[in-house]
């Protein structure tokens, strides 16, 4: 039986609400997208701690930063793409000063679907990863999104968490423990390793089933912390398989693929293939149609793995 499908943004919203009940210092800053990011669950129960700035992302970040220096814990959420509009404030006010601001970008990647190019952030990981002091997280399912929201409250510093519009299967049980900076082995293998993040974790898992039927056994690893990256695990599994594939719904420039390549090129160069959006913008369409067209679906991943294994 297929497990229940829930979007990671649901996990974000649900956890924020729970956190709000437990911790009075938690506040939310919203730029008129609370219904989409699901921050509205918090807003409805705690209107006095839910600050609206209107459609003004720069001010959302500036306000969240100002709130944070008083000791409150602001979560600031909008679409991933619109957070980029405030990038220089994220850099100069939040990251430069190591302020305790939790930024959440929803509707990331081409899985955003029908809204098309303008809404499909495919460069957010790259830009936030380049900021000193910033950590970059992307949950694979709604449970992991919830755990992240809770874990972030114990982490003092700037963070960027990337969530998604589309519902994907829940792969974690409710007792799953998320730790910042730790990769998670979901499948054991020997022929290759797929490091996947976010929605592509599901495609990688399905790809491993396809490959298994062909007698190819691959590791599938969920990399939900893209910065700081779990270098130790990446090097260890590269040594075991000598064949590394990365999979992400993000431009192949600057995202997970780059992060893994950076680790391996300096520590253990080996055969590697980066699966992701090939330096192009997306378009309107259904999420699964887009994944097929842009080579992010399980079959495309299985095909790439088969090809690269032959080159080993």
């Amino acid at each position: 039986m297929e497990s229940q499908k829930i979007a990671t943004r649901e996990g974000y919203g649900k956890a924020l609400l729970e956190l709000g009940r437990k911790n009075k210092n938690v506040v939310v800053v919203d730029a008129d997208l609370g219904d989409s990011t699901k921050a509205e669950y918090f807003g409805k129960e705690f209107p006095e701690r839910f600050f609206t700035v209107g459609i003004a992302e720069q001010n959302m970040i500036g306000v969240a930063a100002g709130i944070s220096v008083t000791g409150k814990i602001p979560y600031a959420s909008t679409f991933a793409i619109f957070s980029e509009r405030a990038f220089e404030l994220v850099r100069n006010v939040v990251a430069r000063n190591k302020l305790n601001v939790k930024i959440c970008g929803s509707h990331a990647g081409i899985t955003t679907g029908e809204d098309g190019k303008s809404a499909q952030a495919i460069e957010d990981i790259a830009i936030y990863r380049a900021l000193p002091n910033m950590i970059v997280l992307q949950p694979a399912d709604s449970v992991e999104a919830e755990k992240m929201v809770f874990e972030l409250v114990n982490y003092h510093g700037p963070s960027y968490m990337r969530v998604h519009r589309t519902a994907f299967p829940v792969i974690h049980s409710s007792d799953y423990k998320f730790a910042i900076g730790k990769g998670e082995i979901l499948r054991e293998g020997k022929d290759a390793v797929i490091f996947a993040t976010g929605t592509l974790v599901h495609e990688a898992l399905k790809a491993s089933d396809i490959l298994k039927n062909k007698g190819i056994n691959v590791y599938v690893v969920n990399i939900s912390t893209i910065k700081p990256i779990d270098s130790k695990l990446i090097i260890e599994l590269a040594k075991k398989t000598n064949c590394v594939i990365t999979a992400e719904d993000h431009n192949i420039i600057g995202g997970l693929g780059s992060a893994v390549a950076e680790v391996l090129s300096e520590n253990y160069p080996c055969k590697m293939k980066r699966i992701g959006v090939q330096d192009v913008y997306g378009e309107s369409g259904k999420p699964d149609e887009l994944y097929k067209k842009y080579g992010l679906d399980s079959e495309s991943i299985a095909e790439e793995v088969t090809k690269i294994i032959k080159k080993k």
Binding site: V29, V53, V69
Partner: protein
């Protein structure tokens, strides 16, 4: 405020004008123009208005002053050193490698509440502080100084709209309207028009003064805040005020004086008659 006290503040501003010149001359780098325009207001804030404790810069119940126009750091550093937030010897290491006093303010410096350098951001940051203080029902006030050139940044207006919407009557902004920006007169680069009308239309209480007249400054600061809305003090100033060749001269927005200019600048300031100065 008694006349003698006002005279004392004016004397202090005169001294700190000299500090600004010394700081920038020694570093051979920095922004003298906007520091000289803001200094009278900063002296009034730090010596008359702000509830602060230089021995305990992070005192929870303090008022906050945010310098959004962070390039005018020499003026703020001069005031903070004078108040005893840090040693005056630090002023001589402004902008030098390993020195505490960075080109633009950093939060690591005692007394600094906002790390400026990128324009428009301090007022947005101040809205955040003011919201949080209100949520906790604290009496502390937030003061933020922005520039007229800075008001060309869109986020200034995003923040101004939000401050009125959230009825932030614990927030007072000061527009250091010194008329000049990096490449020329503000009215020639991008005229911000009728600033008073703009902030009134955004829902603010607006007070307009001569920002070099200590009496007017004190009166304006004592009139704010009022209940239910944020206050904007439009402080009409002259960039480079007090140094003849720097006044309204965009070339001294971000340039240090040479040896000759340094002597002339100090001469000019020494000749200021504080009784008549405004």
């Amino acid at each position: 405020m008694p006349k003698d006290d006002i005279l004392e503040l004016k004397q202090k501003a005169k001294e700190l004008r000299k500090s600004i010149i010394e700081i920038v001359y020694k570093a051979q780098s920095g922004h003298p123009g906007g520091s000289l325009s803001e200094i009278d207001m900063l002296v009034a804030l730090y010596n008359h208005k702000l509830k602060i404790d230089p021995k305990n810069p992070k005192w929870e119940d303090r008022d906050r002053f945010v310098l959004s126009k962070g390039h005018a750091s020499p003026g703020l550093y001069a005031v903070l050193a004078d108040k005893g937030f840090f040693s005056k010897s630090e002023l001589g290491k402004f902008r030098q490698l390993g020195g505490m006093l960075q080109g633009h303010p950093e939060l690591s410096i005692p007394g600094i509440e906002f790390a400026g350098g990128s324009l428009g951001q301090g007022i947005s940051f101040s809205v955040g502080i003011a919201l949080a203080l209100k949520l906790d029902k604290k009496n502390s006030k937030v003061y933020v100084m922005i520039g007229d050139g800075e008001s060309q940044e869109g986020v200034v207006w995003e923040a101004s709209m939000a401050a009125a919407f959230h009825k932030l009557d614990n927030l007072t902004a000061i527009l250091d309207k010194n008329q000049v920006q990096e490449t020329g007169k503000t009215k020639d680069v991008m005229d911000i028009g009728d600033a008073a009308a703009k902030w009134k239309a955004f829902g603010w209480n607006v007070i307009e003064i001569n920002g070099h007249d200590m009496g007017e400054i004190i009166k304006a600061l004592d009139k704010a805040p009022i209940k239910g809305k944020p206050t904007m003090i439009i402080s009409n100033t002259i960039k480079g005020k007090g140094v003849s060749f720097m006044e309204l001269n965009y070339k001294f927005h971000g340039k240090a004086p040479n040896d000759e200019e340094y002597k002339k600048a100090l001469d000019d300031i020494n000749r200021i008659d504080v009784k008549k100065f405004k």
